[in-house]
């Protein structure tokens, strides 16, 4: 074990060795969060002698989960001993709870349930929306309004915290639901209540629910404090939650429903990296954990801060730190000779032109490996004009880049394939069927499940749940090429060279009514991916906070980039004309002076 502990710094070591019942680890970007969490899990096994089966790790997404599993594997390989505790996402945890509750007769469901998108519930009962949301005559608007309101209510950002039942909906209230496609929609409380009641019926009748429905049902089961609650509180002695800042209010409720006063809970997160608040999380998650644990169990959690950054040189951290309001600034012991670059430009074409020529230079002159370069953009919808323009310019210079795979769709088709595999081979051992699988992605997925502890085809269902997480999954490519991806999807990753586009009103911060704090955190996540050199590209903000100006306040290299090539000047006006124009110029004063003159008039 010392082999691993010796490599940790004092902060990390403290986090690993602390045996308080509740621990909150605040870990900034690049501070070795995964390493610390992995080491702590191993330490719990080896030194505290807790069997892995009595531990559970909860991760925000599949990619974060695989990071953690890889780290654990690396450690156990080094040590030659130690096992991997189950690592779940909140959804697969909820699935487990419901499954157990069905077995123990604790759930409203009587047998195996299917999970679908909220929108698809309508296919089970075409009359689901009948006479509801009468303001909207078209089905699509109705559906969006009701489903959005329903999801928000359960996630915890429509009413006062997450609602577990239609009984909590206020009938005389009118709820405003912002949607991307339909703009702001309205749902009145009465309709939402009725919709929820009808969904309840469908759920029972067709044994189906949606993702938020699973979380809600799991909370309801645990809150009854029946056999299922007993089972899980006895099973999980040690609970570790990763990326706690992105936990929705409903997921937080699930966590607290799962713990009793004897379990140990460690949460790890960074409030400055909260970027999923549209999904019901907010930047106060970590603070709330502290308060909740304190008030419920009278034990103040131990707070440990990791702020020594191993990823980026100090110059880059100076830029990222400038975006953070308070609390832990990360710092680094390495410095570099290069200043981060801030490129001020005025359109995508110029931005892309700068990026592509700079990347060409990096690859050809400085011999940088293309996959060490990543271009991050703020995605605004399915279609991203910024990324498209960059790709065009890269194409022109014949620089290869990785195409992102349309995430949700691939995951969906994969999940269907796995589902049919499960149906065809009910109860079979995975060992027996693995070789018969033809589709490579499916095979890979089943293998991952097996290495994760799945044994028979039934177990696949639980992993399927994880496929539907909201994160933008990415497909790792082996190709030696420049990465282009969204800032959201880059969370947890690092690259030596990072280009970030496109700062400015409506772009980054995004939308005409941006949530500035969330956008600031998103930029923080993006900038803190850089290990060696950082390029920030965009224009100044006018109506909203100017992130570009913000970055310019630190020690950076400011490059104005307003033309594609050097300007060819002519000799200018004749002397006579120039004299006349100069005379005009001298007589005209600047607006600043003028306003100053005006101020004298206001003395009442």
């Amino acid at each position: 074990m010392n082999k691993i502990l010796d490599k940790l710094n004092d902060q990390q070591l403290r986090a690993v060795k602390d045996t308080s019942q509740f621990i909150q680890i605040n870990a900034g970007p690049g501070t070795g969060k995964t390493t610390t969490l992995g080491a702590k899990m191993l330490y719990t096994q080896v030194e505290l002698e807790v069997p892995v089966s009595n531990m559970v790790g909860i991760s925000f997404s599949r990619s974060a989960k695989s990071h953690l599993l890889n780290k654990l594997e690396e450690f156990t390989d080094q040590l030659g001993y130690g096992g991997k505790p189950p690592i779940l996402t909140f959804h697969s945890l909820a699935f487990r709870i419901i499954k157990k509750a069905i077995e123990l007769g604790d759930s409203k469901f009587k047998e195996y349930i299917e999970h679908v998108d909220t929108h698809d519930l309508i296919s089970y009962q075409p009359n689901l929306m009948k006479d509801l949301c009468k303001e909207y005559k078209d089905g699509e608007s109705k559906k969006h309004a009701l489903c959005e309101a329903f999801n928000k209510a359960r996630q915890g950002n429509l009413l006062d915290g997450p609602s577990l039942s239609w009984k909590e909906v206020k009938e005389d209230e009118i709820y405003h639901v912002p949607t991307y496609v339909f703009g702001r929609l309205l749902v009145n409380g009465q309709d939402l209540k009725e919709f929820w009641k009808r969904v309840d019926k469908i759920e029972r009748k067709f044994r189906v629910t949606d993702y938020n429905g699973m979380i809600t049902e799991a909370i309801n089961i645990l809150k009854n404090k029946g056999k299922t609650y007993e089972y899980f509180t006895n099973l999980y002695d040690y609970i570790f939650v990763d990326e706690y800042q992105d936990t929705s209010l409903a997921q937080e409720m699930l966590l607290f429903a799962l713990i009793s006063n004897k379990q140990h809970v460690t949460v790890v997160g960074d409030k400055n990296q909260t970027i999923y608040s549209f999904n019901g999380s907010n930047s106060y998650n970590l603070d709330r954990f502290f308060q909740q644990a304190t008030s419920l169990y009278n034990t103040e959690p131990t707070k440990i801060i990791l702020n020594r950054n191993y990823r980026s040189p100090q110059q880059i951290l100076d830029v990222t730190n400038s975006l953070v309001h308070e609390e832990h600034y990360v710092y680094s012991e390495t410095r570099t000779l290069q200043q981060p670059v801030v490129v001020e430009t005025h359109n995508y074409q110029l931005a892309s032109h700068y990026i592509s020529t700079e990347i060409e230079k990096l690859i050809n002159q400085e011999k940088v490996t293309p996959s060490n370069i990543c271009i991050l953009y703020r995605k605004n919808s399915e279609h991203s004009p910024q990324a498209d323009t960059v790709k065009e310019h890269l194409n022109q210079l014949e620089i290869e880049y990785t195409e992102e795979v349309s995430n949700r769709k691939t995951e969906k088709s994969l999940s269907q394939k796995v589902l049919s595999l499960q149906e065809q081979n009910q109860g079979e051992d995975l060992e027996d069927i693995i070789e018969t699988i033809e589709d490579e992605r499916t095979k890979q997925f089943v293998k991952e499940c097996m290495s994760d502890g799945a044994t028979d085809s039934e177990d696949l269902l639980e992993y399927l749940v994880e496929l539907e997480e909201i994160e933008e999954s990415f497909t790792p490519t082996q190709k030696e090429a420049v990465h282009i991806r969204t800032v959201h999807s880059a969370k947890g990753l690092e690259f030596p060279y990072v280009f970030i586009i496109y700062l400015g009103d409506k772009e980054f911060p995004h939308s005409s009514k941006p949530d500035i704090e969330e956008e600031r955190r998103l930029l923080y996540v993006g900038l803190s991916r850089a290990q060696k050199q950082l390029y920030i590209i965009g224009k100044k903000g006018l109506h909203f906070e100017s992130f570009l100006d913000h970055c310019l306040l630190t020690d950076v290299k400011h490059i104005p980039y307003h033309t594609f090539m050097e300007e060819k000047f002519s000799s200018g006006f004749s002397n006579k004309d120039k004299k006349a124009i100069d005379r005009t110029g001298n007589k005209q004063t600047s607006i600043i002076d003028e306003m100053e003159d005006l101020q004298g008039l206001f003395n009442d």
Binding site: K137, N347, D505, H543, F564, S571, I581, T584, Q588, I591
Partner: protein, 482 residues
Amino acid sequence: MQQLQVKLTEDQDQCVTFKPKGDLLVQGIPGSGKSTILLARAQYLMKKYPNDKVLFLTFNRTLTNYIKQLADKIGLSNVEAKTFHQWAKELLETTAYPNTKLKLGKDRDAIIRYAKNIVNKHNESASFPKIEEGKKNDQQLIKFLGDEIEWIKGNGINTRNDYLNIKRSGRGKDVRVTKDHRETIYDILEKYNELLNKDRRHRGIDSEDLSQFLIERSNEVSKKLLSDHVLVDEAQDFHTLQLKAISTFAKKSLTIGADKGQQIYRRSFTWKSAGIEIKGGRSKYLKKTFRSTRQIVTLANDFQEKDLLITSDADYQKPAVPDIEGKVPELVYCDKKADEEKAVLKQVQKIRGSYPEDTIGVIATSHKRLDEYKKLLEEYGVPVYKIKDEDADIVSPGVKLITYHSSKGLEFDHVLVTELKQGKIPYKKPTPGDDEEEFMSRERKKLYVAMTRAKKTLCLISSRTYSSFVKDFNEKYYEVIT
């Protein structure tokens, strides 16, 4: 760099020191410093009432950006600037009105076309006014219907009978509208409203309803969202109903800057009908031009006065000529389109050669033409900004490309007015239902507005067939260059 006038006249002095009670109207000719007065007033209000919210409203985004850039320059970063539609939509979204997706311009045309087609299909007696034959006949008809629907809704006509019996003024003589036509137009209006209300694809709100519903639901709007002081720039571009909505929601004071001489849209209103009370002495007319030079203003005024419709308007005031001397405006004649581009490049390079820190405005009638200039100038390494597409910085150095319409309210050190060509400016012909004389007046105002954007130099570029306006430039006031 940004340069305006130094000293205030007595007129301006009185305006800005007005106590913020009631409404204040600042009228003035181009360059009389309306925007400056409004900014100064904003500065005064913010100093005096540090906790109050101050908001600028304009008709287009470009002007909103410009105001914000100027405000930043003088350290007023807390001033908000929004377009009317953006502001109104945000407020309406807080009410219980279900449809808040804006349907303007092309989106609105599509709804009108759809409504027209349905009426035409289901109603055998449907009859449409005869629009002059031409290739774009349907487009012309849609434009006509759009104008008519705007007029009906804008004037608060909401029964069929009222429409059938009202005397329709302000329309040209080229389109004859019979009672049967009116019946059909009203059918289309009803269908159009229904689509806005219910249709999956077209559900939303148009500009007229936006103002109307906002006023009707004013008690539903949270007071917390409202600004204490509202300043409206280029108010002559707004409709009565829009100004009424603005005056409904200004909590403490309303200041309005306007110039009828720059009215380039088809609008008619009186301040009173907009619910704006301008009591004695609260209206100020600024006659002095500060922005420009004696040479430029003289040429522009002389040109404007060639139109009797403009000078005979009761509100018309002959602008004074500034005492700042400068270079005589230039006129370039070109044979071909390509020559015009060369002339633009040559003039831009000349200005950049002497004054690389100055702003240069290049004005054309269409975005297509501006894109052509952009391509050419980029090849010579000139920093070029397309104002509209890029929400560009107007006050920083470089070439700013802009249409005649959007140039209003802006100013540049050097201006190139291009496409002085028959069929471009003045445009080919008025839209159906428009009055020929009024149309020519508006086209003239458009050119006048473009010319008066210049602070230091003005270059007019004309290509064949030369615009009929060119002969209205007095030869005494410009020089032809080649």
